[in-house]
Symmetry: C2
Subunit: 227 residues, 2 copies
Protein backbone atom coordinates (compact mmCIF):
# COMPACT_ATOMS: atom_id res chain seq x y z
CA UNK A 1 0.00 0.00 0.00
CA UNK A 2 1.38 3.38 -0.94
CA UNK A 3 1.94 6.02 1.67
CA UNK A 4 -0.67 8.49 0.45
CA UNK A 5 -3.38 5.80 0.37
CA UNK A 6 -2.47 4.85 3.90
CA UNK A 7 -2.66 8.46 5.04
CA UNK A 8 -5.94 8.97 3.20
CA UNK A 9 -7.45 5.95 4.93
CA UNK A 10 -6.33 7.18 8.32
CA UNK A 11 -7.86 10.60 7.67
CA UNK A 12 -11.11 8.99 6.50
CA UNK A 13 -11.25 6.93 9.68
CA UNK A 14 -10.77 10.09 11.71
CA UNK A 15 -13.55 11.88 9.85
CA UNK A 16 -15.97 8.97 10.03
CA UNK A 17 -15.39 8.64 13.74
CA UNK A 18 -16.96 12.09 14.09
CA UNK A 19 -13.80 13.79 15.24
CA UNK A 20 -14.72 16.90 13.23
CA UNK A 21 -17.87 18.97 13.05
CA UNK A 22 -19.55 19.10 9.61
CA UNK A 23 -18.18 22.16 7.77
CA UNK A 24 -15.42 22.31 10.38
CA UNK A 25 -11.79 23.00 9.72
CA UNK A 26 -9.29 20.20 9.21
CA UNK A 27 -5.65 20.58 10.22
CA UNK A 28 -3.50 22.33 7.63
CA UNK A 29 -1.02 20.73 5.26
CA UNK A 30 1.99 21.76 7.32
CA UNK A 31 0.62 20.15 10.46
CA UNK A 32 -0.23 16.96 8.57
CA UNK A 33 3.25 16.69 7.06
CA UNK A 34 4.62 16.58 10.58
CA UNK A 35 1.90 14.29 11.91
CA UNK A 36 2.45 11.67 9.21
CA UNK A 37 6.15 12.37 8.54
CA UNK A 38 5.43 12.88 4.87
CA UNK A 39 6.21 15.56 2.33
CA UNK A 40 3.67 18.18 1.36
CA UNK A 41 3.19 16.54 -2.03
CA UNK A 42 2.19 13.26 -0.40
CA UNK A 43 -0.17 14.96 2.04
CA UNK A 44 -1.79 16.88 -0.82
CA UNK A 45 -2.26 13.66 -2.77
CA UNK A 46 -3.97 12.04 0.20
CA UNK A 47 -6.20 15.10 0.70
CA UNK A 48 -7.01 15.09 -3.00
CA UNK A 49 -8.33 11.53 -2.60
CA UNK A 50 -10.56 12.69 0.23
CA UNK A 51 -11.86 15.51 -1.95
CA UNK A 52 -12.68 13.17 -4.81
CA UNK A 53 -14.62 10.94 -2.47
CA UNK A 54 -16.65 13.78 -0.96
CA UNK A 55 -15.11 13.84 2.50
CA UNK A 56 -13.60 17.30 2.40
CA UNK A 57 -13.27 20.42 0.31
CA UNK A 58 -10.68 23.16 0.34
CA UNK A 59 -10.39 26.89 -0.15
CA UNK A 60 -7.17 28.53 -1.13
CA UNK A 61 -5.83 30.78 1.57
CA UNK A 62 -8.30 29.40 4.08
CA UNK A 63 -8.02 25.69 4.71
CA UNK A 64 -9.51 22.21 4.35
CA UNK A 65 -13.10 21.77 5.52
CA UNK A 66 -14.87 18.56 6.47
CA UNK A 67 -18.09 17.84 4.57
CA UNK A 68 -21.32 16.74 6.24
CA UNK A 69 -21.89 12.97 6.16
CA UNK A 70 -24.64 13.10 3.52
CA UNK A 71 -21.95 14.03 1.01
CA UNK A 72 -20.09 10.77 1.41
CA UNK A 73 -22.28 8.37 3.37
CA UNK A 74 -25.21 7.84 1.09
CA UNK A 75 -25.92 5.76 -1.97
CA UNK A 76 -23.16 6.91 -4.20
CA UNK A 77 -22.64 6.14 -7.79
CA UNK A 78 -19.88 3.57 -7.45
CA UNK A 79 -19.76 -0.18 -7.58
CA UNK A 80 -22.09 -1.95 -5.23
CA UNK A 81 -19.35 -3.54 -3.13
CA UNK A 82 -17.80 -0.11 -2.80
CA UNK A 83 -21.12 1.46 -1.78
CA UNK A 84 -21.66 -1.11 0.90
CA UNK A 85 -18.08 -1.61 2.04
CA UNK A 86 -17.86 -2.72 5.66
CA UNK A 87 -21.51 -3.71 5.67
CA UNK A 88 -22.99 -7.14 6.09
CA UNK A 89 -23.45 -7.87 2.38
CA UNK A 90 -24.85 -11.22 1.25
CA UNK A 91 -26.39 -12.78 -1.86
CA UNK A 92 -29.35 -14.90 -2.85
CA UNK A 93 -28.93 -16.57 -6.24
CA UNK A 94 -32.11 -16.76 -8.30
CA UNK A 95 -30.67 -18.26 -11.43
CA UNK A 96 -27.31 -19.42 -12.80
CA UNK A 97 -26.84 -20.92 -16.25
CA UNK A 98 -24.87 -20.88 -19.48
CA UNK A 99 -26.56 -19.53 -22.58
CA UNK A 100 -25.74 -18.91 -26.22
CA UNK A 101 -25.00 -15.27 -26.87
CA UNK A 102 -27.69 -13.37 -28.76
CA UNK A 103 -26.83 -11.27 -31.80
CA UNK A 104 -26.52 -8.13 -29.67
CA UNK A 105 -24.29 -9.78 -27.09
CA UNK A 106 -22.08 -11.31 -29.79
CA UNK A 107 -21.40 -7.82 -31.05
CA UNK A 108 -21.07 -6.25 -27.63
CA UNK A 109 -18.57 -8.82 -26.35
CA UNK A 110 -16.82 -9.24 -29.71
CA UNK A 111 -17.56 -12.97 -29.80
CA UNK A 112 -18.07 -15.43 -32.64
CA UNK A 113 -21.33 -17.17 -33.34
CA UNK A 114 -21.90 -20.15 -31.08
CA UNK A 115 -19.89 -18.78 -28.16
CA UNK A 116 -21.51 -18.85 -24.76
CA UNK A 117 -22.17 -16.58 -21.82
CA UNK A 118 -22.60 -17.15 -18.13
CA UNK A 119 -25.91 -15.68 -17.11
CA UNK A 120 -27.07 -15.15 -13.57
CA UNK A 121 -29.55 -13.24 -11.49
CA UNK A 122 -28.96 -12.61 -7.84
CA UNK A 123 -30.27 -10.42 -5.06
CA UNK A 124 -27.80 -8.50 -2.95
CA UNK A 125 -28.82 -7.96 0.65
CA UNK A 126 -27.48 -5.73 3.39
CA UNK A 127 -28.42 -7.02 6.82
CA UNK A 128 -30.89 -9.35 5.07
CA UNK A 129 -32.70 -6.45 3.44
CA UNK A 130 -32.63 -6.57 -0.37
CA UNK A 131 -30.87 -3.58 -1.90
CA UNK A 132 -30.43 -4.58 -5.53
CA UNK A 133 -31.24 -7.26 -8.04
CA UNK A 134 -28.45 -7.94 -10.51
CA UNK A 135 -28.74 -9.64 -13.87
CA UNK A 136 -25.36 -10.32 -15.44
CA UNK A 137 -23.78 -11.81 -18.54
CA UNK A 138 -20.09 -12.73 -18.83
CA UNK A 139 -18.27 -14.54 -21.66
CA UNK A 140 -17.41 -18.16 -20.82
CA UNK A 141 -14.29 -17.84 -22.96
CA UNK A 142 -12.79 -15.32 -20.55
CA UNK A 143 -13.57 -17.17 -17.33
CA UNK A 144 -13.13 -20.93 -17.59
CA UNK A 145 -13.24 -21.54 -13.84
CA UNK A 146 -16.28 -19.43 -12.99
CA UNK A 147 -19.09 -21.15 -11.11
CA UNK A 148 -22.07 -20.55 -8.87
CA UNK A 149 -20.02 -20.41 -5.68
CA UNK A 150 -18.49 -17.14 -6.88
CA UNK A 151 -21.92 -15.53 -6.77
CA UNK A 152 -21.93 -15.51 -3.00
CA UNK A 153 -18.99 -13.13 -2.90
CA UNK A 154 -17.86 -10.17 -4.97
CA UNK A 155 -17.72 -11.09 -8.65
CA UNK A 156 -15.71 -7.94 -9.31
CA UNK A 157 -13.06 -9.17 -6.88
CA UNK A 158 -13.06 -12.55 -8.66
CA UNK A 159 -12.45 -10.80 -11.99
CA UNK A 160 -9.71 -8.67 -10.50
CA UNK A 161 -7.95 -11.67 -8.99
CA UNK A 162 -8.28 -13.52 -12.26
CA UNK A 163 -6.92 -10.82 -14.54
CA UNK A 164 -5.46 -8.12 -12.28
CA UNK A 165 -6.86 -5.45 -14.54
CA UNK A 166 -10.25 -3.85 -14.53
CA UNK A 167 -9.84 -0.67 -16.46
CA UNK A 168 -13.33 0.80 -16.67
CA UNK A 169 -16.79 0.53 -15.29
CA UNK A 170 -19.07 2.46 -17.62
CA UNK A 171 -22.52 3.08 -16.17
CA UNK A 172 -25.81 4.26 -17.52
CA UNK A 173 -28.67 5.12 -15.23
CA UNK A 174 -32.32 4.98 -16.15
CA UNK A 175 -35.70 5.12 -14.51
CA UNK A 176 -37.83 1.97 -14.48
CA UNK A 177 -41.11 0.74 -13.07
CA UNK A 178 -40.62 -2.56 -11.24
CA UNK A 179 -42.38 -5.56 -12.70
CA UNK A 180 -44.22 -7.84 -10.30
CA UNK A 181 -41.42 -10.40 -10.05
CA UNK A 182 -38.67 -7.86 -9.42
CA UNK A 183 -40.86 -5.95 -6.99
CA UNK A 184 -41.49 -9.11 -5.01
CA UNK A 185 -37.79 -9.92 -4.82
CA UNK A 186 -36.94 -6.39 -3.66
CA UNK A 187 -39.95 -6.28 -1.32
CA UNK A 188 -41.47 -3.28 -3.04
CA UNK A 189 -44.88 -2.50 -4.49
CA UNK A 190 -45.47 -3.59 -8.07
CA UNK A 191 -45.04 -0.69 -10.56
CA UNK A 192 -43.12 1.37 -8.04
CA UNK A 193 -40.41 3.49 -9.61
CA UNK A 194 -36.76 2.84 -9.17
CA UNK A 195 -33.36 3.26 -10.76
CA UNK A 196 -31.55 0.84 -12.97
CA UNK A 197 -27.81 1.03 -13.49
CA UNK A 198 -26.36 -0.72 -16.50
CA UNK A 199 -22.70 -1.56 -16.04
CA UNK A 200 -20.20 -2.37 -18.72
CA UNK A 201 -17.05 -3.65 -17.05
CA UNK A 202 -13.94 -3.65 -19.22
CA UNK A 203 -10.65 -5.42 -18.73
CA UNK A 204 -8.10 -4.07 -21.17
CA UNK A 205 -8.45 -2.23 -24.40
CA UNK A 206 -11.90 -3.00 -25.67
CA UNK A 207 -12.32 -6.33 -23.87
CA UNK A 208 -15.75 -6.29 -22.24
CA UNK A 209 -15.81 -8.71 -19.31
CA UNK A 210 -19.24 -8.16 -17.85
CA UNK A 211 -22.59 -6.65 -18.68
CA UNK A 212 -24.83 -6.11 -15.67
CA UNK A 213 -28.27 -4.66 -15.17
CA UNK A 214 -28.58 -3.58 -11.56
CA UNK A 215 -32.06 -2.74 -10.34
CA UNK A 216 -32.12 -0.80 -7.09
CA UNK A 217 -34.64 -1.27 -4.34
CA UNK A 218 -34.46 2.40 -3.37
CA UNK A 219 -35.32 5.15 -5.78
CA UNK A 220 -32.33 7.40 -5.30
CA UNK A 221 -28.65 7.79 -5.85
CA UNK A 222 -26.44 10.66 -4.90
CA UNK A 223 -23.38 12.36 -6.28
CA UNK A 224 -21.27 15.36 -5.46
CA UNK A 225 -19.25 17.78 -7.46
CA UNK A 226 -16.93 20.28 -5.94
CA UNK A 227 -15.06 23.17 -7.40
Amino acid sequence: MSKYVDIANQLITMIESGEYRPWGLLEGELYLTRLFSASRVTIRKALSQLKDRGYIHSRQGSGYYVNPPEFYKEQHLTTLSDRYANLNLSSAVLEFNIVYASEEFLKLFHLFKGQKLYHYRRIRLVDDIPVTLEETWMPVSLFDDFNESHLYGSVMKYIENRYHVISHDFKQIQAVALNSQTARHLRKEEHSLSLQIIHKVYLLKSVLAQYTIETQAENYLSALSIR
Copy 2:
Protein backbone atom coordinates in the same frame (compact mmCIF):
# COMPACT_ATOMS: atom_id res chain seq x y z
CA MET B 1 -5.54 30.20 -16.43
CA SER B 2 -2.99 27.82 -14.98
CA LYS B 3 -0.59 25.95 -17.18
CA TYR B 4 -1.94 22.48 -16.50
CA VAL B 5 -5.52 23.53 -17.28
CA ASP B 6 -4.30 25.03 -20.52
CA ILE B 7 -2.47 21.83 -21.45
CA ALA B 8 -5.46 19.71 -20.45
CA ASN B 9 -7.72 21.76 -22.71
CA GLN B 10 -5.34 21.42 -25.62
CA LEU B 11 -5.18 17.67 -25.15
CA ILE B 12 -8.97 17.46 -24.96
CA THR B 13 -9.25 19.39 -28.21
CA MET B 14 -6.84 16.97 -29.82
CA ILE B 15 -8.81 13.96 -28.61
CA GLU B 16 -12.19 15.39 -29.58
CA SER B 17 -10.93 16.19 -33.07
CA GLY B 18 -10.55 12.44 -33.55
CA GLU B 19 -6.80 12.50 -33.76
CA TYR B 20 -6.59 9.21 -31.85
CA ARG B 21 -8.32 5.86 -32.31
CA PRO B 22 -10.53 4.75 -29.42
CA TRP B 23 -8.41 2.60 -27.10
CA GLY B 24 -5.33 3.91 -28.92
CA LEU B 25 -2.11 5.02 -27.30
CA LEU B 26 -1.45 8.63 -26.37
CA GLU B 27 2.05 10.07 -26.40
CA GLY B 28 4.02 9.41 -23.24
CA GLU B 29 4.76 11.84 -20.44
CA LEU B 30 8.32 12.49 -21.59
CA TYR B 31 7.21 13.45 -25.07
CA LEU B 32 4.50 15.74 -23.68
CA THR B 33 6.93 17.52 -21.33
CA ARG B 34 8.94 18.49 -24.40
CA LEU B 35 5.90 19.29 -26.52
CA PHE B 36 4.45 21.69 -23.95
CA SER B 37 7.72 22.79 -22.30
CA ALA B 38 6.40 21.77 -18.91
CA SER B 39 7.66 19.64 -16.08
CA ARG B 40 6.52 16.07 -15.60
CA VAL B 41 4.47 17.08 -12.57
CA THR B 42 2.50 19.58 -14.64
CA ILE B 43 1.93 17.12 -17.48
CA ARG B 44 0.77 14.50 -15.01
CA LYS B 45 -1.66 16.97 -13.45
CA ALA B 46 -3.12 17.76 -16.86
CA LEU B 47 -3.41 14.06 -17.71
CA SER B 48 -5.04 13.43 -14.36
CA GLN B 49 -7.74 15.97 -15.31
CA LEU B 50 -8.35 14.06 -18.52
CA LYS B 51 -8.65 10.83 -16.57
CA ASP B 52 -11.19 12.31 -14.17
CA ARG B 53 -13.30 13.50 -17.07
CA GLY B 54 -13.28 10.14 -18.84
CA TYR B 55 -11.06 11.04 -21.80
CA ILE B 56 -8.17 8.70 -21.07
CA HIS B 57 -6.96 5.98 -18.78
CA SER B 58 -3.47 4.77 -18.00
CA ARG B 59 -1.59 1.64 -17.14
CA GLN B 60 1.67 1.64 -15.27
CA GLY B 61 4.55 0.45 -17.39
CA SER B 62 2.45 0.71 -20.52
CA GLY B 63 1.09 4.14 -21.29
CA TYR B 64 -1.93 6.43 -21.58
CA TYR B 65 -4.86 5.22 -23.67
CA VAL B 66 -7.63 7.25 -25.24
CA ASN B 67 -11.17 6.25 -24.27
CA PRO B 68 -14.00 5.80 -26.76
CA PRO B 69 -16.27 8.85 -27.10
CA GLU B 70 -19.22 7.29 -25.24
CA PHE B 71 -17.12 7.54 -22.07
CA TYR B 72 -16.98 11.32 -22.22
CA LYS B 73 -19.47 12.53 -24.80
CA GLU B 74 -22.77 11.44 -23.38
CA GLN B 75 -25.11 12.78 -20.76
CA HIS B 76 -22.81 12.95 -17.83
CA LEU B 77 -23.64 13.63 -14.27
CA THR B 78 -22.41 17.20 -14.02
CA THR B 79 -24.09 20.56 -14.11
CA LEU B 80 -26.29 21.19 -17.08
CA SER B 81 -24.17 23.97 -18.54
CA ASP B 82 -21.19 21.67 -18.27
CA ARG B 83 -23.04 18.82 -19.94
CA TYR B 84 -24.01 20.99 -22.85
CA ALA B 85 -20.90 23.14 -23.09
CA ASN B 86 -20.29 24.44 -26.60
CA LEU B 87 -23.87 23.65 -27.59
CA ASN B 88 -26.59 26.03 -28.58
CA LEU B 89 -28.24 26.24 -25.16
CA SER B 90 -31.27 28.49 -24.64
CA SER B 91 -34.08 28.96 -22.13
CA ALA B 92 -37.83 29.39 -22.07
CA VAL B 93 -39.12 30.85 -18.81
CA LEU B 94 -42.43 29.41 -17.64
CA GLU B 95 -42.70 31.24 -14.35
CA PHE B 96 -40.75 33.72 -12.25
CA ASN B 97 -41.90 35.03 -8.90
CA ILE B 98 -41.05 35.71 -5.29
CA VAL B 99 -42.64 33.55 -2.63
CA TYR B 100 -42.59 33.16 1.13
CA ALA B 101 -40.43 30.24 2.17
CA SER B 102 -42.32 27.20 3.43
CA GLU B 103 -41.41 25.55 6.72
CA GLU B 104 -39.15 23.06 4.94
CA PHE B 105 -37.37 25.71 2.94
CA LEU B 106 -36.88 27.91 6.01
CA LYS B 107 -35.02 25.05 7.61
CA LEU B 108 -33.14 24.04 4.48
CA PHE B 109 -31.87 27.55 3.73
CA HIS B 110 -31.43 28.53 7.39
CA LEU B 111 -33.82 31.47 7.06
CA PHE B 112 -36.12 33.23 9.50
CA LYS B 113 -39.87 33.20 9.26
CA GLY B 114 -41.14 35.70 6.71
CA GLN B 115 -38.07 35.62 4.50
CA LYS B 116 -38.60 35.16 0.82
CA LEU B 117 -37.36 33.03 -2.06
CA TYR B 118 -37.03 33.56 -5.77
CA HIS B 119 -38.90 30.79 -7.49
CA TYR B 120 -38.77 30.00 -11.18
CA ARG B 121 -39.44 27.28 -13.68
CA ARG B 122 -37.74 27.23 -17.02
CA ILE B 123 -37.11 24.87 -19.89
CA ARG B 124 -33.60 24.45 -21.17
CA LEU B 125 -33.29 23.73 -24.88
CA VAL B 126 -30.42 22.56 -27.03
CA ASP B 127 -30.94 23.47 -30.67
CA ASP B 128 -34.55 24.26 -29.75
CA ILE B 129 -35.17 20.76 -28.44
CA PRO B 130 -36.14 20.67 -24.74
CA VAL B 131 -33.63 18.75 -22.65
CA THR B 132 -34.65 19.62 -19.10
CA LEU B 133 -37.23 21.43 -17.04
CA GLU B 134 -35.82 23.19 -14.00
CA GLU B 135 -37.69 24.33 -10.95
CA THR B 136 -35.56 26.42 -8.61
CA TRP B 137 -35.68 28.26 -5.32
CA MET B 138 -33.05 30.78 -4.16
CA PRO B 139 -33.07 33.04 -1.08
CA VAL B 140 -33.79 36.69 -1.91
CA SER B 141 -31.54 37.71 0.97
CA LEU B 142 -28.49 36.34 -0.81
CA PHE B 143 -29.19 37.83 -4.23
CA ASP B 144 -30.62 41.33 -4.11
CA ASP B 145 -30.03 42.06 -7.80
CA PHE B 146 -31.41 38.82 -9.25
CA ASN B 147 -34.13 39.15 -11.90
CA GLU B 148 -35.81 37.39 -14.77
CA SER B 149 -33.19 38.40 -17.31
CA HIS B 150 -30.68 36.15 -15.57
CA LEU B 151 -32.83 33.15 -16.44
CA TYR B 152 -31.85 33.36 -20.08
CA GLY B 153 -28.22 32.62 -19.28
CA SER B 154 -26.43 30.40 -16.80
CA VAL B 155 -27.68 31.06 -13.27
CA MET B 156 -24.68 29.16 -11.93
CA LYS B 157 -22.39 31.61 -13.68
CA TYR B 158 -24.39 34.48 -12.18
CA ILE B 159 -23.93 33.03 -8.69
CA GLU B 160 -20.22 32.51 -9.30
CA ASN B 161 -19.74 36.09 -10.51
CA ARG B 162 -21.72 37.35 -7.56
CA TYR B 163 -19.90 35.46 -4.84
CA HIS B 164 -16.83 33.90 -6.48
CA VAL B 165 -17.39 30.75 -4.50
CA ILE B 166 -19.50 27.76 -5.25
CA SER B 167 -18.15 25.03 -3.07
CA HIS B 168 -20.50 22.11 -3.65
CA ASP B 169 -23.22 20.81 -5.87
CA PHE B 170 -24.84 17.90 -4.09
CA LYS B 171 -27.11 15.86 -6.33
CA GLN B 172 -29.69 13.18 -5.78
CA ILE B 173 -31.12 11.25 -8.67
CA GLN B 174 -34.51 9.63 -8.72
CA ALA B 175 -36.89 8.03 -11.14
CA VAL B 176 -40.16 9.82 -11.91
CA ALA B 177 -43.15 9.48 -14.19
CA LEU B 178 -43.83 12.71 -16.05
CA ASN B 179 -47.08 14.46 -15.27
CA SER B 180 -49.09 15.78 -18.19
CA GLN B 181 -47.86 19.36 -17.89
CA THR B 182 -44.18 18.43 -17.65
CA ALA B 183 -44.51 15.87 -20.42
CA ARG B 184 -46.03 18.49 -22.70
CA HIS B 185 -43.20 20.94 -21.99
CA LEU B 186 -40.55 18.31 -22.65
CA ARG B 187 -42.46 16.96 -25.68
CA LYS B 188 -42.79 13.49 -24.21
CA GLU B 189 -45.70 11.12 -23.64
CA GLU B 190 -47.61 11.55 -20.40
CA HIS B 191 -46.54 9.06 -17.71
CA SER B 192 -43.29 8.29 -19.52
CA LEU B 193 -40.40 7.57 -17.19
CA SER B 194 -37.50 9.89 -16.72
CA LEU B 195 -34.82 10.98 -14.30
CA GLN B 196 -34.98 13.83 -11.85
CA ILE B 197 -31.85 15.37 -10.40
CA ILE B 198 -32.20 17.39 -7.24
CA HIS B 199 -29.38 19.87 -6.80
CA LYS B 200 -28.31 21.57 -3.64
CA VAL B 201 -25.81 24.27 -4.52
CA TYR B 202 -23.73 25.56 -1.64
CA LEU B 203 -21.66 28.70 -1.40
CA LEU B 204 -19.51 28.54 1.70
CA LYS B 205 -19.77 26.51 4.82
CA SER B 206 -23.35 25.53 5.14
CA VAL B 207 -24.79 28.38 3.09
CA LEU B 208 -27.27 26.88 0.65
CA ALA B 209 -27.69 29.16 -2.35
CA GLN B 210 -29.98 27.18 -4.60
CA TYR B 211 -32.34 24.24 -4.55
CA THR B 212 -33.20 22.90 -7.99
CA ILE B 213 -35.32 20.06 -9.26
CA GLU B 214 -34.16 19.21 -12.75
CA THR B 215 -36.42 16.92 -14.74
CA GLN B 216 -34.72 15.40 -17.76
CA ALA B 217 -36.39 14.81 -21.11
CA GLU B 218 -34.28 11.74 -21.75
CA ASN B 219 -34.34 8.76 -19.46
CA TYR B 220 -30.64 8.17 -19.04
CA LEU B 221 -27.46 9.52 -17.54
CA SER B 222 -24.01 8.06 -17.72
CA ALA B 223 -20.98 7.89 -15.50
CA LEU B 224 -17.59 6.28 -15.58
CA SER B 225 -15.24 4.95 -12.99
CA ILE B 226 -11.72 3.96 -13.74
CA ARG B 227 -9.11 2.18 -11.70
